[in-house]
């Protein structure tokens, strides 16, 4: 029981991170209907920025953890959204209005490009930082097992929840949210009604990148190690999460992320760890067979 609880905590932490990255996929899909394959690598870039920041802070002897975290988050979000903006501008905007697959291939190219840029400029070696947040709370002590939730795990889950709420509020209550939703539904009509579509799409990419940056900082804090390859696996998992939850739906992305985190940790905990990815994809297929638009996706009515 205690063991299951611990695995639940592990799964939630992992799932929260997938969810944060998945939101980026889902938003971009919602607005321009493309899979932004480079999103995982944007996340990777943000993790590198975070490592540089933490190292700078360590050199500057900043000892206040909340202050350091805030600083790293802000800096990382700023630069990462610049990357999000640039990627859209260079690789996707010229392709708007062409076939559905063109931006996908461009995105795959962008992903390879970003990975190798980071490898060249930052080196192929893994980048570690000393533990930022140590310790945690002991939740439950049984004779042979202690359930523990680390401060960093707690931080990740809380941040995710807060961001999720803030984000949903922004989409439903602000002018940008309205423009974003209007572009999702009908870009031409939105443009006719005076919505600056280009700007809205750019902003969407920047927001997605900023969320990925939050995930990047969290990964850096939690695992303490990043390398130029982390974007790939995280990207695939997050994309799976977005689809599982119903691509285009924000709560769906979060739900998908959490589910995949939980499936992974419980499958690995009780069944065969080596087949956990098979389980993830298997469950995805099953869900899609029963609900072709994902768990919370708007069911696509066949318009004849």
């Amino acid at each position: 029981m205690a063991y299951a609880l611990q695995q639940l905590i592990n799964g939630l932490t992992l799932g929260a991170m997938y969810g944060l990255i998945a939101i980026g996929y889902t938003m971009v899909y919602g607005i321009i209907g493309m899979i932004n394959f480079a999103h995982g690598d944007i996340f990777m870039v943000s993790a590198f920025i975070a490592v540089t920041c933490f190292t700078l802070l360590a050199a500057a002897d900043v000892s206040s953890i909340p202050l350091a975290l805030m600083f790293v988050l802000v800096v990382s979000m700023f630069f990462t959204s610049a990357y999000g903006w640039a990627v859209e501008r260079v690789a996707y905007r010229p392709l708007r209005g062409s076939t559905r697959l063109a931006p996908l291939i461009s995105a795959i190219g962008m992903s390879i490009f970003l990975q190798n840029t980071v490898q060249l400029t930052q080196g192929a070696r893994v980048k570690p930082i000393p533990p930022v947040i140590e310790g945690g709370i002991e939740l439950w002590q049984t004779p042979d097992f202690t359930v523990q939730i680390g401060w960093s795990q707690l931080l990740i889950i809380v941040t995710t929840v807060v961001l999720m709420v803030a984000f949903t509020w922004m989409i439903t209550h602000t002018a940008f949210g309205r423009q974003q939703r209007s572009c999702e539904q009908d870009r031409t009509m939105a443009a006719l009604l005076g919505v600056n579509v280009d700007r809205t799409i750019s902003l969407t990419f920047m927001l997605g990148a900023a969320l990925a940056a939050v995930a990047g900082v969290m990964v850096t804090v939690y695992y303490g190690v990043v390398d130029f390859f982390i974007g790939f696996l995280a990207g695939i998992k997050a994309f799976t999460a977005a689809v599982l939850g119903g691509i285009g739906s924000l709560p769906g992305a979060m739900l998908g992320g959490l589910l995949i985190g939980l499936i992974e940790s419980f499958w690995a905990a009780y069944l065969w760890a080596e087949y956990k990815d098979v389980a993830t994809f298997g469950i995805l297929c099953l869900v899609l067979m029963l609900r072709p638009s994902g768990l919370l996706g708007r069911p696509e009515v066949e318009k004849v």
């Binding site: 592990n10 570690p128 533990p131 945690g136 680390g150 303490g224 905990a269 760890a273 956990k276």
Partner: protein, 364 residues
């Protein structure tokens, strides 16, 4: 690292330029890019230094050596492509590849093209296929696993030992051998697991280890994952000792795992840096700000092997060279090298090491 992009590009173009006549092209191949690029980097540094030294001594048989570098990124398909490139460049000797899964398909190409090769790949299959051009200057996984498993059985009696691998050819081979050696000594692994290399989250595994009261984990795989597992174990309040293979020589482990790296034991050939004969070379590397860790000295030794075998044979023709390598005995920075019929090093001997404050040394 501080080279400017432009300068690096020019240097790369320069490296690839065709050698002039009266130069002997020799090659190294390995993962110069990709996940394991740091190993490739070590090989390149070792080989460059060796070639500089050999050429300073007047080259081999009066000809200067030039180095060709092949990048296979540990991808078998690219490895074959690299091998073909090297054949075209008419290299007379190859040191590589690094990943066993690259070495195996590439070696067929070298075999057909009559090119002798010295490799550090540890998978038994490398020398088990009857190719007479392969020489392994490193031990084999089965020997390595044997040493590690026996050490675990002897030193951690009564403690729970888990055996984990990363599903790579290398990692799984090693972990299987460790488990076998332990069982032979009457100790059953408390847990046998596989993880996926390249992920970041191993908290599930750590929790599992914690539940089963595991104190020691034998691990077949690369150092990156070990660093992550150690960090996450510490976070979860699990005091874990790790036993790994030769890949743990990488100092990245220490950077990434922090103080927890002191809990890592691993098997590796006797440290060449400790050889009295290697002292001047080690000094030289350190003077050039290169720590001759991991595969650096092996690459150096591979070039020495070629130099001495070619000198002994008086020629760089395949048959003569191959015969000289097979029959001779060579003094290199990694000690005395001689090979058995399969091409395995005769006295590899693995030793158990332990990291200690950023350095590794023989374990007590």
């Amino acid at each position: 690292m501080n080279k400017t992009l432009l300068a690096a590009a020019l240097a790369a173009v320069g490296l690839a330029a065709q050698p002039a006549l009266a130069e002997l092209p020799v090659a190294i191949a390995g993962p110069m890019s990709g996940q394991y690029a740091s190993a490739g980097d070590q090989i390149r540094k070792g080989a460059e230094m060796a070639i500089a030294d050999i050429n300073a001594r007047g080259g081999v048989l009066g000809e200067k050596l030039v180095l060709e570098v092949g990048d296979d990124a540990c991808d078998p398909k690219q490895a074959v492509s690299v091998a073909n490139t090297m054949v075209n460049k008419e290299i007379v000797f190859m040191h590589g590849h690094w990943c066993s899964s690259s070495t195996i398909p590439a070696s067929d190409v070298y075999y057909e093209a009559d090119i002798p090769m010295a490799t550090v790949s540890t998978n038994p299959q490398v020398t088990e296929r009857g190719l007479e051009n392969i020489f392994r200057i490193m031990g084999r996984d089965d020997q390595q696993g044997m040493v590690a498993g026996t050490y675990l059985a002897d030193h951690f009696k009564g403690k729970k030992i888990a055996v984990v691998d990363d599903k790579s050819a290398y990692g799984k081979g090693l972990a299987d051998e460790i488990a076998k050696a332990m069982t032979a000594r009457g100790i059953e692994p408390a847990l046998r697991e596989s993880i996926t290399a390249g992920e970041k989250d191993y908290s599930g595994l750590v929790t599992k280890l914690k539940r089963d009261g595991v104190e020691v984990m034998a691990y077949g795989g690369y150092h990156t994952e070990v660093a992550l597992i150690l960090r996450q174990a510490q976070q979860a309040g699990l005091d874990l000792t790790v036993m790994g293979g030769d890949t743990m020589t990488n100092s990245e482990l220490v950077t990434a795992a922090g103080p927890a790296a002191d809990k890592v034991l691993f098997t590796f050939s006797p440290d060449p840096r400790k050889n009295a004969s290697a002292a001047p070379v080690v000094e030289k590397f350190r003077a050039a700000k290169i720590e001759p860790e991991g595969y650096v000295l092996y690459a150096y030794a591979a070039m020495q092997l070629f130099e001495q075998a070619a000198t002994a044979a008086g020629s760089t023709d395949y048959d003569a060279l191959q015969k000289a390598m097979r029959e001779g005995s060579f003094d290199t920075v990694i000690g005395n090298l001689s090979f058995d019929a399969k091409g395995d090093q005769k006295a590899p001997g693995f030793v158990v090491y332990q990291w200690q404050g950023g350095q590794y040394d023989y374990a007590r």
